[in-house]
């Protein structure tokens, strides 16, 4: 049947597609209401039978003018809006924005706050990757791993609820530190989770990732080569899955990441080619393990102390200037570019979202694949429409 094959005679990036019969192409709207597009993404597909010959993604169904709102509200008032662009990793979004504002203010959060920030960011990364892996299973057709992943995520949400009172939109990490200190018993709860998670992790691997059908569906599908990933500005697991060793936690140290011992997981073609859907998922799976390791180290190193910088209050007036800070969101580099004119409102606020950039390459991957692979490829990019549309 038809599938992309690797032929050494072909030029780089070129694929040979074998077709038995050539028939008229059909145009199909995948979305905006479609189970595999994770929200309201619309992909206009052109297909020759089961084989896709073209793809075009249409964004904007969830556009909420987040950046424009940022130029209308106070610096702190914008914080809840950051929760909403990548709602699966709101802690990371808070962190990215707070770090950018802190850079503008020229302050640094106290050490205890930094440790708690790292713990929260990594817990949130696990939560986000759990959803990514689980929904990816659902895209492939396996429902059960999703529920197992959500079960562990629920424990994480309990942890978040305990520290900040919300389960999805935290607004907890704020410029200058944290909303308030961790309550009593919270660190023990985190520790208990890290121990539990190491045991449960194997289940996702055995049930989903190691399953023969999963391997067949993902290995050698949607291969993003190193050049392609760099050329399209991919980041996060999408970039690392293609074999590029790049992680802002290690390469642009912030917070206390330089004091932690962790590995950057890079795709290496465990079941197929480097950069295929399996590798992206592989990177996410092992990143969860590494995050767990980081949290455990943080729990050992954390000490008592203040959690809020004394000079940073509720109403912020950064000195005129501009700042860009990008951090490693679960989906890639989430950057905020802020321009201040010295007032209590941002002059310009710009967000560099990872899903938005990662999604662009999917359009390039789809032609030549099969219809079922469209779900697999879009799922492996792990987009959150809230963030692509913002």
């Amino acid at each position: 049947m038809a599938n992309s094959t690797k032929d050494p005679a072909l030029r780089a990036g070129e694929r040979l597609v074998e077709l038995d019969v050539r028939t008229q192409d059909v145009e199909i709207n995948m979305g905006p209401q479609h189970p595999a597009t994770h929200g309201v993404l619309r992909v206009l597909l052109r297909a020759d039978g089961e084989i896709l010959t073209g793809a075009q993604s249409h964004l904007g169904y969830l556009h909420r003018c987040a950046e424009k709102i940022g130029e209308k509200v106070d610096w702190l008032q914008y914080l809840p809006y950051t929760d909403r662009y990548d709602y699966l990793s709101a802690m990371n979004n808070n962190l990215a924005y707070s770090l950018a504002v802190e850079k503008l203010l020229g302050v640094e959060a106290p050490e205890r706050a930094q440790f708690i920030r790292v713990i929260l960011a990594e817990l949130n990364r696990i939560a986000s990757h759990l959803v990514a892996v689980g929904t990816y299973g659902m895209d492939i057709g396996a429902f059960t791993p999703f529920f197992y992943a959500l079960r562990e995520r629920e424990l994480l949400l309990d942890i978040f609820e305990k520290i900040c009172g919300a389960r999805l939109t935290y607004s907890y990490i704020r410029p200058g530190g944290l909303m308030n200190d961790a309550p009593a018993g919270w660190l023990e709860q985190v520790k208990a989770f890290t121990e539990l998670f190491d045991k449960k992790w194997g289940e996702y691997w055995d049930l989903l990732v190691d399953s023969k059908i999963f391997v067949e569906r993902t290995a050698n599908v949607g291969v993003v080569s190193e050049e392609l990933a760099l050329a399209w500005g991919c980041s996060g697991p999408m970039l690392r899955g293609s074999g590029v060793d790049w992680d802002l936690r290690r390469d642009a140290p912030h917070l206390v990441y330089d004091r932690l011992d962790f590995e950057v997981i890079v795709g290496r073609g465990y079941r197929g080619t480097v950069g295929d859907c399996f590798d992206r998922n592989y990177v996410r799976m092992y990143e969860m393990v590494q995050s767990n390791r980081m949290i455990r180290q943080c729990l050992e190193q954390i000490e008592d102390g203040e959690v809020q910088h004394p000079d940073v209050g509720l109403l912020l007036r950064p000195a005129p200037g501009e700042a860009y800070v990008g951090i490693e969101n679960p989906r890639g580099e989430l950057g905020h570019y802020l321009v201040s004119d010295g007032s209590k409102i941002a002059r310009r606020l710009r967000v560099r979202g990872p899903s938005f950039c990662n999604l662009a390459v999917a359009e390039h991957l789809l032609p030549g694949c099969m219809l079922a692979d469209a779900a697999a490829i879009i799922g492996s990019v792990d987009i959150v429409i809230g963030e692509t549309d913002r």
Partner: protein
């Protein structure tokens, strides 16, 4: 009595669906109505005691070949103009053949229907077919081998004849 009713029932299905297949404007609907014809024929086979043949008819023709026909038809652009000429021709052909056959029947002999009972009791036809395979002087097994060789030839020729496209051509 029961045989007569069944006969006319199956005859109605077979002929009605065949006419529908010929005259229907939509190609896909024609193909679907062919299903009725095939099933009606299977009914006749059952009445004649050839249950194995009937089921093979259902399995191979209805379940296999007709599915492939429909599969092919669904993927092609229907040309409604093409059907007009065919309909007229088909109608002429059907009516003509029917009238001819009827006239022939009336003219040559009186109705001389074959009684079902004369055909013998329907029995285990599979058993006979199986034994036929094993008989030394039977040509059934070589015949089946020949069909396998032909099938291999068909598959091979399709494999050789198919086109390959570069991605840019898609």
């Amino acid at each position: 009595m029961a045989e007569t009713v069944s006969f006319f029932f199956f005859a109605a299905i077979t002929i009605g669906c065949a006419l529908l297949a010929l005259l229907h404007r939509n190609v896909v609907n024609s193909a679907f109505s062919l299903l009725g014809t095939l099933l009606g024929l299977a009914g006749f086979y059952v009445m004649l005691g050839a249950d194995f043949l009937a089921m093979t008819q259902v399995l191979i023709y209805a379940g296999g070949i007709l599915v492939l026909i429909i599969f092919g038809l669904m993927l092609t652009q229907p040309d409604t103009n093409e059907r007009r000429m065919g309909r007229i021709l088909a109608a002429v052909a059907v009516v003509g053949t029917g009238a001819l056959a009827f006239w022939e029947k009336i003219g040559v002999a009186t109705w001389n229907a074959v009684e079902v009972a004369e055909l013998g009791e329907p029995g285990g036809t599979v058993r006979e077919i199986g034994l036929e395979f094993l008989r030394r002087d039977s040509w059934l097994l070589p015949f089946e081998f020949a069909s396998i060789v032909l099938l291999a030839g068909l598959v091979g020729s399709v494999y050789i004849a198919r086109r390959r496209f570069r991605e840019e051509e898609l």
